[in-house]
């Protein structure tokens, strides 16, 4: 397949994954804001903008006034935000059009259909009343495309590049949430956990759609160390770092089989993968959660770049 097409597939799935993750973040932020007084709510919204790396762009547009509608409209649809959900969904569709021949009709139609619906939904400012429905739409598109892919695509290089895009992006998103929220999870804050801490912890889980799974596994008991372990090391949770890397491992392995050999990116993956194999959450906390996450994000970015180089995504 063409290197440019591999790149298109890879980014199509990165963008879809990103849109889905952002919508979860907004939803968690919105929920937090609803349960807080005005100034705390504003802090929540600010934290969301910071997580997405949009602080400068946002303040250039709205100043330091962090109100809900300003924030979520900025993230969803603002023209000054090149990473808005609208913009990246459009990017996703552009990539899908570019690689139309490499994806099945079902995949293309779910991308295109989702884009058309979202474009319409985001044609005017989103109100708090409509927010839930809009976020739902974003998630549903991502789910639908994923379903179409799983159900109709050949398990070949194209599929593997798609999955690599999804899991590189998902790992990056989970890591970034941890990066911004790590202080909430630090054990020094409070051992017992005030009710506020509980809310904060639950919010972290909610941002990655993990609150129910975590509660189910832990009989409703919230503790920061357990949450960090769940998000980093629990191979059963599909948005944990360990899960993403187990998928990257198997997709890169099947590429190596298909291509009759490994590339440099396989080495990088092996190195990065080590951090999950024998790691315990105690060791990670000892090393420093923040450092661990920082290193992870850098390695993940390096892996993505190397994949793009090895498979000639660009000249």
């Amino acid at each position: 397949m063409l290197g440019r097409s591999a790149n298109g597939i890879f980014w199509l799935f990165r963008y879809l994954e990103r849109a889905e993750n952002i919508s979860r973040l907004i939803e968690a932020g919105f929920r937090m804001a609803l349960t807080r007084d005005a100034s705390d709510a504003s802090d929540e919204w600010r934290s969301l903008i910071v997580t997405l790396g949009l602080r400068q762009a946002f303040e250039a547009r709205h100043g330091t006034e962090y109100t809900g509608p300003h924030v979520f409209n900025f993230i969803l649809r603002d023209k000054d935000n090149p990473g808005s959900i609208l913009a990246i969904t459009e990017e996703a569709r552009t990539n899908a059009r570019m690689v139309r021949g490499g994806i099945t009709r079902e995949v293309w139609e779910s991308v295109n259909d989702g884009w058309m619906q979202l474009k319409e939904a985001l044609a005017r400012p989103v109100t708090e009343t409509r927010l839930g429905a809009v976020l739902d739409l974003v998630r549903r598109q991502s789910t639908q495309v994923r379903g179409a892919m799983e159900g109709t695509m050949l398990r070949n290089e194209i599929y593997n590049f798609a999955r690599l895009g999804s899991f590189i992006e998902r790992a990056d998103n989970t890591a970034r949430i941890l990066d911004v929220k790590y202080y909430v999870l630090l054990p020094s804050v409070s051992y017992v956990g005030s009710s506020l801490d509980n809310v904060q912890w639950e919010n972290v889980l909610r941002s990655v759609a993990g609150e129910r799974a975590y509660r189910w596994l832990n009989a409703g008991r919230m503790d920061p160390r357990g949450i960090a372990e769940f998000l980093i090391l629990d191979g059963r949770f599909p948005r944990s770092l360990a899960f993403c890397y187990s998928k990257l491992r198997s997709n890169l392995a099947s590429l190596a089989r298909e291509y009759g050999g490994e590339m440099h990116c396989h080495e990088i993956l092996r190195d990065a993968d080590c951090q999950f194999h024998h790691a315990t959450i105690e060791a990670i906390f000892e090393q420093g959660l923040h450092e661990f996450i920082g290193t992870f994000i850098r390695n993940n970015t390096a892996l993505a770049l190397q994949i793009q180089r090895d498979y000639r995504f660009i000249d």
């Binding site: 397949m1 063409l2 290197g3 440019r4 097409s5 591999a6 552009t94 059009r97 570019m98 139309r100 021949g101 009709r105 293309w108 139609e109 295109n112 259909d113 058309m116 290089e157 590049f161 291509y259 498979y311 000639r312 995504f313 000249d315």
Partner: protein, 477 residues
């Protein structure tokens, strides 16, 4: 069921309102359908097209970056007998076009014999000096041709244009049929219509047969070269590549390697044997043609002349569908085939000739005037529907550069009904069948693209000017 327009030939109805035999099966079915069924299906079809992304882009129209070409649900029907004649005529014409191109780029016997004025080639940008003395692999110049036909009577089909460069629209031929079959499956059990869906397979086979003899082996690598997703026909490029199982490449994917054109794949550079390019000559090779082009491949012309790749259609074929050359097509057909043309030309005045110019200027209000190098319905004058001011403005242009124009009578194009809010109503149509040429022969898919002017009385069928399309049926015997 509908009224015919008094002056035109209606393909469905006789002048007395009775149904012609071609439409007998269809009309019987149509009359049995609940009145609003077709309209309801119409909106279904639109949603279907939007979802599948069958759109085209209009240049310079930002609001409508991607527009649908309106699809009308009433098929355009051609009988088996009519088709046989068309087929013979088209084949003859395409054979002549290829012989003509070979001659133009070699000995130019037709000019020497005095049948074609040398001035038509001089300073004609469509004539490429780079092609002189070179014979493309298999001797094929026009691998894919779209012959535009218009009809004025029962047996009167005429060629309006020979699209010998990169004719588009074949994806609509295929999707229109898919749509009709999806929406009215039972209709196809009642009326036997010849299949068009194997066009991509035929295209792949025909292109593969044109691979350079030194390369290709038994499974030549075919790629479709597109200008990219913002091109108005991108959907079609992607569609055809997909259906043929060929790679869809852009200029940036390609480079010259060891005397071949190679595409950047995830496994490294891989040579291409046949390039079905949907990029104009001018942009094909910045080293040879437009130096600012980013759509083509630097050095492809050298590779081509060195026998390293087949380019379909060959560069320089545009000279054959030049509108000034068009007027000589009857002579061209006779010169190379030794036969009388089966399909007629539309009578054409060449404004470069002073007698013709005088006539055209005297009768401007009754004529259609076209730019010699124009396409897509741009830069043309339709006398009868133009204002005095428009006529005067065009007259000035004509006088300034008469050699730039040809004129034709305003033809009373045949009509086929479309579905309007008020029921069926006749609209003017044309037909573009698609023709494949390879050393193995000429292959014409039974059907084509019917374009229809949606505005009442309008004769402009171009999709860029508000035309629509219809499914085109050739009946089985």
């Amino acid at each position: 069921m509908t009224k015919t327009s008094p002056s035109s030939y209606d393909e469905m109805l006789h002048a007395d309102g009775s149904v012609r035999s071609a439409y007998a099966g269809y009309c019987q079915w149509h009359d049995e359908q609940p009145p609003d069924l077709l309209r309801r299906k119409g909106s279904e079809a639109e949603a279907f097209f939007r979802r599948t992304g069958i759109t085209f882009n209009v240049y310079g129209n930002e609001d409508a970056e991607e527009r649908l070409i309106p699809f009308d649900m009433v098929p355009r029907i051609i009988t088996a007998q009519q088709w046989r004649k068309l087929q013979r005529g088209i084949e003859q014409r395409v054979r002549a076009l290829n012989a003509f191109l070979h001659d133009l780029y070699h000995r130019q016997e037709i000019v020497r014999s005095g049948r074609l004025p040398a001035r038509l080639l001089k300073n004609n940008e469509a004539f490429l000096p780079e092609m002189v003395g070179f014979t493309p692999p298999g001797g094929v110049y026009t691998h894919i041709v779209g012959i535009d036909l218009v009809r004025t009577g029962e047996d009167d089909f005429m060629v309006l244009e020979d699209n010998a460069r990169t004719p588009s629209g074949v994806s609509y031929m295929l999707e229109n049929r898919e749509t009709m079959m999806a929406m009215f499956p039972e209709l196809f059990t009642r009326v036997r219509v010849r299949e068009v869906s194997d066009y991509p397979r035929r295209l792949a086979r025909s292109l593969a047969a044109c691979a350079p003899s030194a390369f290709g082996g038994n499974k030549p690598v075919v790629a479709v070269l597109t200008p990219g997703i913002y091109n108005s026909a991108y959907f079609e490029h992607a569609f055809l590549a997909d259906q043929m199982g060929a790679e869809l490449v852009e200029g940036s994917d390609l480079r010259v390697e060891n005397g071949r054109i190679a595409m950047r794949t995830t496994r490294g550079y891989q040579p291409i044997d046949v390039l079905y390019r949907r990029v104009d000559d001018e942009f094909l090779d910045p080293l040879t043609f437009n130096p600012n082009s980013v759509l083509g491949v630097s050095g492809i012309m050298d590779v081509y002349r060195g026998g390293g790749i087949t380019i379909a259609n060959a560069p320089g074929t545009g000279i054959a569908d030049d509108k000034a050359i068009y007027s000589f097509m009857p002579e061209i057909v006779e010169f190379y085939t030794g036969e009388k043309p089966i399909l007629q030309n539309v009578p054409t005045w060449r404004c470069a000739e002073s007698d013709a110019l005088a006539y055209v200027l005297d009768n401007l209000a009754d004529l259609v005037v076209k730019e010699v190098h124009g396409s897509g319905g741009y830069g043309m004058l339709i006398g009868p529907t133009s204002s005095k001011k428009e006529l005067a403005a065009f007259e000035a242009k004509l006088r300034a550069r008469p050699e730039n124009y040809i004129a034709q009578p305003t033809l009373s194009l045949s009509t086929v009904p479309i579905l309007t809010k008020a029921g069926l109503a006749p609209r003017h149509v044309d037909l573009r069948p698609f023709v494949l040429v390879s050393p193995n022969g000429i292959d014409i898919t039974p059907g084509g693209l019917t374009r229809v002017a949606l505005k009442k009385g309008s004769l402009v069928v171009n999709s860029s000017q508000g035309g629509g399309t219809k499914d085109s049926w050739v009946l089985d015997d």
